[in-house]
């Protein structure tokens, strides 16, 4: 096992070095870092050219220059020496200094997009697999084909032009018209009835209830000016937390499992108590406090599940964890919403930004900053996640169908297990195994896709670093970008192989 891992790491490093040579030579021969100087007509032109040639070693041909560059990169391997040297840009900034900020922006974007794409894609994939060849399944199949065929830049531009500008215009006079209410109600009702399924009567009831509820809530929100002063308030929070507790208990353990219900109830109660008592603490919170609170929430969920006992403690702990985290998220959401008014004033009433990753000159607490980041990153994240979302629905649908056709599922059904247990505990877990490989591939695709998204939304991340560097013929930032992206792709592939071997006992590591 250890020798396998060591061998894999060694091979990965060699591949990375070879790929960097390929990339370096290609960019080196295609790019002209002197183009802005040769076309300038400043009096000391020759001097400037000479200075840049000596700064970037341009008199050395690219294959040999790569050796010099690699020597600088090799210094990164020395631990704690801080001797990394990735070269400098044409404007004499060190690549090592500009990488971290760009990296932070891109990692934020890609992580959210990846997590959301997996959550949504797998959920929808499973639901469509369970309702194979239904109207919902066919619709989702068509939509995912459509998304496969939709170029990322088109999505990004459309989101920017319609959603961002449309929503900001809507906020000027936030009243939803009668016709819009009816249409939204019909659409939401249709979606819910196809998701929940069942016979005609049940579908009709679901359609009416969900449609009317949606329209009603929207009417209430519109009439009370909710969009200008959003917030959840005590009663909606109690309802939401109760729904979360019931939902996670139903999904993970089934309603007949009393201990799971008790665990969910305890966590919901704790979340509500926290909501009423922690508000003063929230007002002085920083990102660090919130992180500690999140850890504490997770711990409470796990411990309460463990203490609730029963002979399946693992299941109770999962119920507790999910309930605690989701309820905590609702409480946080409410607190974030309270800062909405501040953001509206700071942005002149147009909060959803189309450019950049934060409002320039905005200073405020963690809530205002978080909300501002949300307003800036929502649309780029959506644009990015649509690239991989379709892939996850297709793979998880196919995977679920394949697993469901296996003999052990028939055995599970034959011995009388309820359908929930068959799907969640038997089929779902085995379906997840092949997805690990897809995730690894997807990370590379998302990092590449960030080039386009960052260009459309003018986010100063890794993608725009690459783009600007390539356009200026600036080799070192392009290579800095490549190094990070390729290393991430290789790491995720490696982790996926490890996870695969860990999850699937049939795969043996030699």
């Amino acid at each position: 096992m250890v020798s396998f891992i060591l061998r894999r790491i060694l091979v990965s490093i060699l591949i990375l070095i070879a790929a960097s040579f390929l990339m370096y030579v290609m960019v080196g021969y295609s790019a002209d870092p002197l183009q802005d100087l040769t076309s300038s007509n400043s009096p000391n032109k020759q001097q400037l050219i000479n200075a840049r040639v000596s700064l970037l070693d341009l008199d050395v041909p690219p294959p040999l220059r790569w050796v010099l560059w690699l020597g600088g990169v090799a210094k990164c391997a020395v631990p704690f020496a801080n001797a990394c040297d990735l070269g400098s840009t044409v404007s004499k900034a060190q690549v090592v200094d500009i990488l971290p900020n760009a990296l932070a922006a891109t990692v934020q974007l890609v992580t959210f997009a990846l997590v959301l794409a997996i959550l949504l894609g797998v959920t929808i994939g499973i639901i469509t697999a369970l309702r194979q060849y239904s109207g919902l399944d066919n619709t989702v199949t068509f939509v995912s084909f459509f998304l496969y065929s939709l170029p990322a830049f088109l999505v990004a531009v459309l989101l920017k032009e319609f959603i961002a500008i449309g929503f900001n215009d809507f906020l000027r006079d936030p009243v939803i018209g009668g016709l819009a209410l009816v249409v939204i109600g019909l659409v939401i009702g249709a979606i819910w009835q196809s998701l929940l399924g069942g016979d005609a009567k049940r579908r009709l009831v679901v359609f009416l209830v969900s449609g009317l509820a949606t329209s009603g809530v929207l009417l209430l929100m519109s009439a009370t000016g909710w969009f200008m002063h959003p917030g959840l308030g005590a009663i909606p929070i109690i309802l939401l937390v109760a729904a979360i507790a019931l939902g996670s208990a139903t999904l993970l353990a089934g309603l007949r499992n009393r201990r799971a219900l008790i665990t969910a109830g305890i966590n919901a109660a704790i979340a509500l108590v926290a909501y009423f008592t922690l508000q003063p603490l929230f007002d002085i919170s920083s990102a660090g406090t919130l992180f500690i609170l999140a850890l504490a929430t997770a711990a409470v969920g796990l411990v309460s599940g463990f203490l609730a006992g029963g002979y399946d403690r693992g299941q109770n702990m999962r119920v507790g964890l999910v309930t605690a985290l989701l309820s905590g998220a609702v409480v946080l959401l409410d607190r974030f919403m309270q800062s909405w008014g501040d953001l509206l004033t700071a942005t002149n009433g147009r909060p959803i930004a189309t450019v950049g990753s934060k409002t320039p000159g905005l200073s405020g607490d963690v809530w205002l900053g978080g909300l501002d980041a949300f307003a800036h990153l929502t649309l780029p994240t959506i644009a990015l996640l649509l690239i991989s979302f379709a892939g996850y629905t297709r793979y998880s649908r196919a995977g679920m169908l394949e697993v469901l056709s296996l003999d052990y599922i028939r055995t599970a059904r034959a011995k009388g297990l309820p359908e929930r247990t068959v799907i969640v505990r038997h089929a779902f877990r085995n379906m997840l195994i092949p997805l690990t490989t897809l995730v690894a591939f997807d990370v590379g695709a998302l990092l590449g896709g960030a080039i386009i998204t960052e260009k459309v939304f003018a986010i100063p991340g890794m993608g725009s670093l690459f783009n600007a560097g390539l356009q200026r013929g600036d080799l070192n930032p392009v290579m800095g970008y490549f190094l990070i992206v390729a290393a991430m792709a290789i790491t995720f592939n490696f982790l996926a192989d490890m996870a695969y071997a860990g999850l699937d006992p049939r795969v043996r590591i030699r």
Binding site: S149, R420, I451, I452
Partner: protein, 348 residues
Amino acid sequence: MSTPTGLGATPPEIPADELAVASSVPESQGRLIWRRFVGNKVAVASVIILLLIILFSFSAIGIGPIPGWWQYGYKALNPQVNGGNPTLSLVPQFLGGNGISLGEHPFGQDRIGKDYFAMTMRGIQNSALVMVVLGLIATVVGVVVGAIAGYYRGTVDAILMRVTDVFIVIPALVIGSVVGHWFGALGAPVLAIMLGFFSWMGIARLVRGEFLSLREREFVEAARVAGASDMRIIFKHILPNAMGVVIVSATLIMASAILLETALSYLGYGIRSPDVSLGLLISSNQSAFQTRPWLFWWPGAFIVSLALLVNFVGDGLRDAFDPRHRRFKLSKMRETRPEPEPELETQP
């Protein structure tokens, strides 16, 4: 989607695979697959519409020096008609419209008066060209690399697969940008060829996998005993059996080729002005979205339709070559499922 031509004439609606099982005359593998593909209406309709669109674009503005039936070229400047608005009208007169007519500039004009219909057609031509050339080159390179690696195994396989790993580490858009930055100015054919040499990795891995299993089969052994050379075994005996994988993934490469070319042109690394690409049209008219939205909609609609049609064809081919994953139906199992019983967890 409905079937547009001829196909509706086939009288009995029997699924292709059942028909094949029922008939007593044995059928060749190729005919079986062909029947399954023709039975898939969406895929057949997609092939026809795709060919029609491409034919339409080539006949409209011609190829190179040969002129087409459309009066304007994609480079010529024309006087502004109707403020550059599209003159295409599709609502017949008896419905209160202006009748079905193309008008002077059916897709409108851009800011400097170029005919947008001709530009869009040129963009479709370039997309089709890149799709076919890139797909062919990537397929040929991928098949050769994969076949040699899978057939010879051992050291050859290890070296070729490590080379594949080196190429696969770089995300497609990144390597595409660099290639496009280098060769984009030389025109669409050169760009397509060069991009093809950086898109073969997926197909090589798939073909290698197929070859690794096929080379152990008896018919390969028989060919070797009969004295066939390695090249003959690879290309005459094994490759025809791996054709399903090759054709399906070639189609999927073609679909992603369309998206790659438009994305590169959008970033400025693909096809350059004065030539036209659908991605370039969107990128250069993005700022005019509020005032002249049609400059955005036409190229966008054609990118999506081209890619969608190719994807449908690829899906139809996959089903024709590998109908296994269509056989299982959950709904049949559901009917025989017993009522849920009390859960295990609650029992003491």
